[in-house]
């Protein structure tokens, strides 16, 4: 069965420190992976797609098929990065399966 696991419900780091939000998936096919972010009082929005291999707001994510992971990274955290982050796996006509989410808090 397709599954997305985000092992950390809460993650707290200091401003300027590196951030890594973990995401592991299980899927027998070729995965399509995404990171979504929800800032306080805003709607859920797309942050990254693995197929585009881009950096958004300083965040990057690399698909590691061997480890079935798609961790989200940023070298220097900023206070405005505080938000809820969801990893999502696309399956069959792009029905997305979401992880449990990680609440990231950046301390000043």
């Amino acid at each position: 069965a397709q599954r997305v696991t985000q092992p950390e419900k809460l993650l707290s780091v200091f401003k300027g420190a590196p951030v890594e939000l973990k995401c592991n998936y299980s899927y027998s096919g070729s995965p399509e992976l995404f990171w979504y972010v929800q800032y306080s009082r805003q709607r859920l929005q797309l942050l990254l797609r693995h197929i585009s291999r881009e950096s958004i707001k300083g965040f990057t994510a690399d698909l590691n098929k061997g480890e079935t992971s798609f961790h989200l990274k940023k070298p220097f955290a900023q206070e405005e990065d505080s938000a809820m982050y969801y990893c999502a796996l696309g399956k069959g006509a792009q029905k997305l399966v979401f992880g449990q989410g990680t609440r990231l808090t950046i301390n000043p």
Binding site: R49, Q94, L96, V97, G99
Partner: protein
């Protein structure tokens, strides 16, 4: 502006009432979805549609129903609301593979 709209944002309703949550998008997306999310928890797919007159149930069993008579409109209906239906309902749409979803602002439903 092309976007996806959900109404109402908040709804408090009594047990047994019939309710319809509205979702409309002006982006011309064929694919639309309804997710249910309890506070701080993951999103669960309850319904989806690939186009007009196409609707399917999602991974999470739901007593709600949906319709897709027009491309831009994907309403969700509960015939008889119960306290167990209290949750946040998120509507989303997309063009297709790899594009990701555009989400609405959600409807927070409370059934008392």
């Amino acid at each position: 502006e092309a976007d996806i709209y959900q109404t109402p944002r908040y709804l408090v309703i009594g047990t047994g009432k019939k309710i319809t949550l509205e979702c409309s998008q002006t982006m011309g997306h064929d694919k639309m979805y309804w997710y249910q999310q309890d506070p701080g928890m993951e999103l669960h797919l309850i319904h989806y549609s690939y186009g007009v007159n196409s609707t399917e149930k999602g991974d999470l069993s739901s007593e709600s129903t949906v319709s897709r008579i027009r491309t831009e409109h994907f309403p969700l209906t509960l015939e008889s609301a119960r306290p167990s239906h209290t949750s946040q309902y998120l509507c989303a749409s997309s063009f297709g593979t790899g594009d990701g979803y555009t989400f609405g602002s959600g409807t927070r439903l409370t059934v008392v």
